[in-house]
Symmetry: C2
Subunit: 210 residues, 2 copies
């Protein structure tokens, strides 16, 4: 299809498609004349992925470019490719080596993950993120009890292994796996969070007889 058709089918404006082509997010089409190129299904799939990373993940173009590079490089194992997207989605938490509370919390996070036997890289930004929240609770004078963390961890692992991992289309394209991961992480994370707050209201109404 021509670029105008690619735009109509994907809903992405032509100037934006041209921008993605310049930035290398979208592979060039097959030239059919000096100023014409043909685009296909692969371009539609890629535009769909870019849209998910941009709109759902809220990621900057530089982060999207890194993820797209991992998707395009067939030598990058699927787990590593997914990790690139996964880490990009984690909110940045600045390390602060002078913060003793944070260092203690980080030690606690590392011990917890070790005790649970979870396979998480030592440099995963999620470790630093959890440590930051735990240090914050300490500073508020409300340290998170160990049993609460373990209870949450067990609920979460049941949900992830028993349900969420099965939702990723492992037998589809690499693009589809990443897109599914992004939507699952961000939007299903939000669904869980809203349902939790709805459940709070209902449980409180019942408990307090409102």
């Amino acid at each position: 299809m021509r670029i105008s058709e690619l735009s109509a089918t994907s809903g992405v404006p032509v100037p934006t498609i041209k921008y993605y082509l310049r930035e290398g997010l979208l592979p060039q089409g097959v030239s059919t004349a000096a100023t014409r190129a043909e685009y296909g299904e692969a371009h539609l799939r890629r535009l769909r992925l870019i849209r998910a990373l941009l709109e759902v993940g809220g990621l900057p173009v530089a982060a999207i470019a890194k993820i797209v590079a991992a998707v395009e490089d067939e030598d990058t194992p699927v787990h590593t490719m997914l990790g690139t997207a996964h880490y990009a989605l984690a909110p940045a938490v600045e390390e602060d080596p002078g913060d003793e509370e944070r260092a203690r919390a980080r030690g606690r996070v590392d011990r917890l993950i070790g005790d649970l036997g979870w396979q998480v890289r030592a440099d995963a930004p999620t470790r630093a993120e959890l440590a930051w929240i735990l240090a914050r609770l300490e500073r508020l004078g409300r340290p998170a009890p160990e049993e609460d963390l373990r209870h949450y961890a067990s609920v979460v692992m049941d949900l992830v292994s028993g349900h969420e991992m099965g939702k990723i289309p492992w037998d589809g394209t690499r693009e589809a796996a990443v897109e599914s991961l992004v939507v699952g992480t961000v939007l299903y994370g939000r669904i869980f969070d809203v349902l939790r707050r709805l459940a709070h209201e209902s449980a409180s109404a019942r408990l307090l007889g409102a």
Copy 2:
């Protein structure tokens, strides 16, 4: 204690305390001379609550004033008081009556809550928030399957009734209950979210043999 001592004990600077006094967030102290007032435990408790609403809840002063008014008014039932804080914490989602997808999603949310038998007010902002996410998934061409929503709802209600409701200090002060709700909603919500992402990495590493 004097205002300087209240500041030293609470860690809140004197000018900030004076600002809270002017805004009515903090009750006046007992005057002991023309320019002196005595403050007590109740002021410390209130400052702790304001700090949680401000720093953890990220709420503007106007929202905090509404919550403080509900805390102070002993005629306001505990469930209503908690609801004031709870609704203030929900991200604002603009209603859009012209958006048919959103209207359909809202109908779906209302049916789900009805089917589950959850006691949630018809005007709860959490209903609109969930509808917004569901409409977004529709627009991405990835509608959320009903069984997934029900699975999440059941996991969430187990967590809330079986675990989280027991964490609120029902026999303490009204301030303590609200503070606990805010910290539980925001920071424990984030703990759950980070643990979920840690679990994703681990489950993916296992599944893909990395």
